[in-house]
């Protein structure tokens, strides 16, 4: 029998885990020390969320796996993050646009998840919401400054938007896993989050003097374990130490 709660929790956890891993690569490479610290702070927040979520996922699976096993020992097609979060860091504009699209979704998502009938998910959502409010503010302020900045910053953020917008729709992906859990009051009907998402996107783009990309091309598959070519490379780096030295500890 399918364990839908396990899959649902993994989807949320993997978004935080993979995006946290992506952001951590900026450590020591930020354009300026303050942003180096900002991005790594966000990475730590996300990895903290992933820890709580993976611990809960391991519990719901009930097969004796730990959060570490889930984080480091799965294969690509067993990760259920959206394709958005595995996209490469690129330049600062690409990283910020990826973050901004994600945060603009996560904010109403966590707000809603606080009311989940699953007490553990609700608690994690409540704690994570505070962090997400800050993440969203940080990435939105940057979109505005880059869009309404210099010619170069405007070009870079426009290119980044055109690159990543095709991955935004997958954030709202739902299937029978969600359907069953929604009927139990555990999961969120993601369609109800679209108005808030669209409104915030439009508001920030307006302030940033940017255009919403009008491409209708939508990619998906991550929620079912089908990923872009980037996830494999990310996991190879992330999992190397655990696979080379099983059960090693710091």
């Amino acid at each position: 029998m399918k364990n839908n709660l396990f899959t649902y929790t993994l989807r949320i956890a993997d978004d935080s885990l993979i995006l946290g891993q992506r952001l951590s690569a900026w450590c020591g490479h930020g354009p300026i020390i303050e942003e180096d610290i900002a991005l790594t702070n966000i990475a730590l927040d996300l990895i903290g969320q992933a820890t709580s979520l993976l611990e809960y996922a391991a519990l719901t699976e009930g097969k004796g796996r730990t959060a570490d096993d889930l984080a480091f020992l799965r294969f690509e097609n067993q990760y259920f993050n959206t394709q958005l979060v595995e996209q490469q860091n690129g330049d600062f504009a690409v990283t910020i646009v990826r973050q901004w699209i994600f945060d603009t979704f996560r904010l109403p998502f966590y707000e809603a998840l606080q009311r989940s009938s699953d007490k553990q998910l609700a608690a994690i959502a409540e704690k994570s919401l505070k962090e997400t409010k800050y993440h969203w503010k940080h990435s939105s302020e940057w979109i505005i400054r880059m869009g309404d900045g210099t010619e170069e910053s405007n070009k870079r953020v426009t290119d980044a938007l055109n690159l990543l917008w095709k991955f935004s729709d997958e954030l709202f992906y739902m299937d029978d896993v969600d359907a069953q859990l929604i009927s139990e009051g555990i999961a969120i009907d993601l369609e109800t989050l679209r108005p808030a998402f669209n409104e915030r996107i439009a508001f920030v783009l307006r302030e940033a003097t940017l255009q919403q990309p009008d491409s209708k091309w939508k990619l998906s598959g991550g929620r079912q374990g089908r990923h872009t070519e980037h996830l494999g490379h990310l996991l190879a780096e992330m999992q190397y130490m655990q696979r080379a030295y099983p059960n090693m500890e710091w």
Partner: protein
């Protein structure tokens, strides 16, 4: 990037226990909004502050160290500055 486009700001943080903002250091930022965010990221990593003030360093006017002896001569040795010769009558309480 830092320099004239990203001026230096002095950061003052008030922690949960305390009434005053303490100077904790400085950051670079392009504008006030970013300065508060950068200050939050750099200076409230481990312990919570509840209030952040940022001031552009160029707005801080400081005393000249060369004037220290003129400005800061302690007044302990000047007994005429201290009201120590009054006896507070009982019943007046704390003054």
């Amino acid at each position: 990037m830092a320099g004239k486009d990203w001026p230096l700001w002095e950061v003052f943080i008030r922690s949960k226990v305390g009434l005053n903002h303490k100077h904790v250091g400085s950051i670079h930022a392009a504008d006030a909004e970013m300065a508060v965010e950068n200050a939050r990221d750099v200076y409230t990593r481990r312990s919570e502050g509840i209030s952040i003030w940022v001031v552009e360093s160029s707005q801080v006017f400081a005393s000249d160290p060369a004037d220290a002896d003129a400005l800061f001569e302690p007044a302990d040795s000047k007994i005429y500055r201290h009201p120590t010769f009054y006896e507070v009558p009982d019943g007046v309480g704390h003054m």
